[in-house]
Amino acid sequence: MSELLREAGLIARKDLLIEWRSRVAVNQIAPLGMLVLVVFAFALDANQSLLDRASAGLFWVAVLFAGIITVQRAFTLESEHGIRDALRLSGIRPAAMFLGKLAAISIQLFVLEVVLLFGVVAMYDATVEEPLLAVVTAGTGTLAFSAVGCIYGAVSLGLRARETLLPLLLIPVVAPVLLAGTRALERALGVSTQAGWNWVGLLVVVSAIYTAIGLAVFGPLLEDG
């Protein structure tokens, strides 16, 4: 077990180190997330009360866009320069690779979400009534999203037209995560009085399901082609 975590840590550390060196997330993906929030304001005619009410949903749609790009980048890294063969020849087990990738993508997305949350508070005049709920919602929602993202990142690895295949496969399966994440965040932002923590419970269950599936299928998926 500890060997698995050591290898997963190796992969996560490598992914985050690449991010640290290349700064793509900071230079490109975070600004893109903010841009999406701005564009929503154009679309909704900067109608402050509408933006305030929809802020939780708009936040998660921005996270969805940024998340798809983060997943695509995380798997493109592995498909260049024959790295995929080198990874398969290294002793790292697929389960460790899945957990490593999951951790790296989740951390990057979570940092992005903190930035986006400030954007939502500033631009949509939202107020974070229950910070703990907001943070836990973002965390579990990101974990669920990243687990599904890793699975479909591996499914589309090496396939032609994978840039369009990945979102097409990913979004229907991530739909419940967006739904639950939005309802829980609405409570955290004081927009609704729904039972936020119940929705977080659903996010936890979905994260567990897709993490388990990821651990099971990542080996066969990396093995092909």
Partner: protein, 244 residues
């Protein structure tokens, strides 16, 4: 073809200083490292190997000859356990690759045309990651980098700013550090300057003498023949001649 050093391990073999990290191989238990017969390997629907047969013994340095597209690369990748064998038989280092392809990979190093390095990471980042991935202690790393003449100055340079030759030296250093029992190299001399090639040739001879086995494809026949103990000629996905 000149015989640089007997392929078969001779009793009293003096090993040059500085190669201690190559000394970990015990005498190879089995003599046949690669046993391939009538192997068909398909790339999508193209029969890259169309029934190839060959055997390679421990300690040998085997040159794969033939123009592009005759199956040399596929032969190397199949022996590394990366490609499914559609039909025929393939045993490498005692592992039956038709049944299970993953087990052999720990003992094999495959160096292709690509750098197999992360562009955004520095030389040290890359070497550290890849060697830790194959369970090697960092100590051997720096020795391997020095062995391939990668100067300390380059260690903290991102790999994308390196020349092809320097990337190739780093990639070979990683192969040395991971100490495989079977070296599978696809045109290893490509991109290396004169001194790099000299380093590589001596490396291959040392590895074979230390009990490892080397199989490499190359177009630079004069240099390759000087090093190889044997050569296999490929044509149309088949091995058509096998000469000492």
């Amino acid at each position: 073809m000149s015989e640089p050093g007997m392929g078969v391990s001779s009793a009293a073999r003096t090993r040059p200083k500085g190669l201690t990290f190559l000394s970990r191989y015990d005498d190879p238990a089995m003599s046949t490292v690669i046993d391939m017969s009538k192997a068909v390997v398909l790339l999508e629907r193209f029969p890259a190997l169309a029934g190839a047969t060959a055997t390679v013994g421990a300690g040998e340095i085997v040159l794969l000859r033939g123009p592009n597209g005759v199956g040399k690369t596929t032969f190397l990748r199949s022996c590394a356990g990366l490609l499914p064998v559609a039909s025929g038989r393939l045993n490498v280092l005692g592992h039956d690759l038709v049944a299970a392809r993953r087990a052999v990979r720990r003992h094999v190093a495959l160096l292709g045309h690509t750098s197999q390095l992360y562009d955004d990471l520095t030389v040290v980042d890359n070497v550290q990651f890849w060697s830790r991935a194959s369970g090697v202690r960092d100590g051997d790393l720096m020795g391997a980098l020095d062995r391939m003449g990668v100067s300390k100055r380059l260690h903290s340079v991102p790999v994308e700013r390196l020349s092809a030759g320097q990337k190739r030296r780093v990639a070979i250093a990683i192969v040395i550090a991971s100490r495989p029992r079977l070296w599978l190299l696809d045109e290893p001399h490509a991109g290396l300057d004169q001194s790099g090639r000299g380093l590589l040739d001596s490396l291959l001879v040392d590895a074979a003498e230390a009990g490892a086995t080397v199989v490499f494809a190359s177009h630079e026949l004069d240099r390759a023949e000087a090093v190889a103990t044997r050569s296999l000629s490929f044509s149309g996905g088949l091995i058509v001649s096998d000469d000492e």
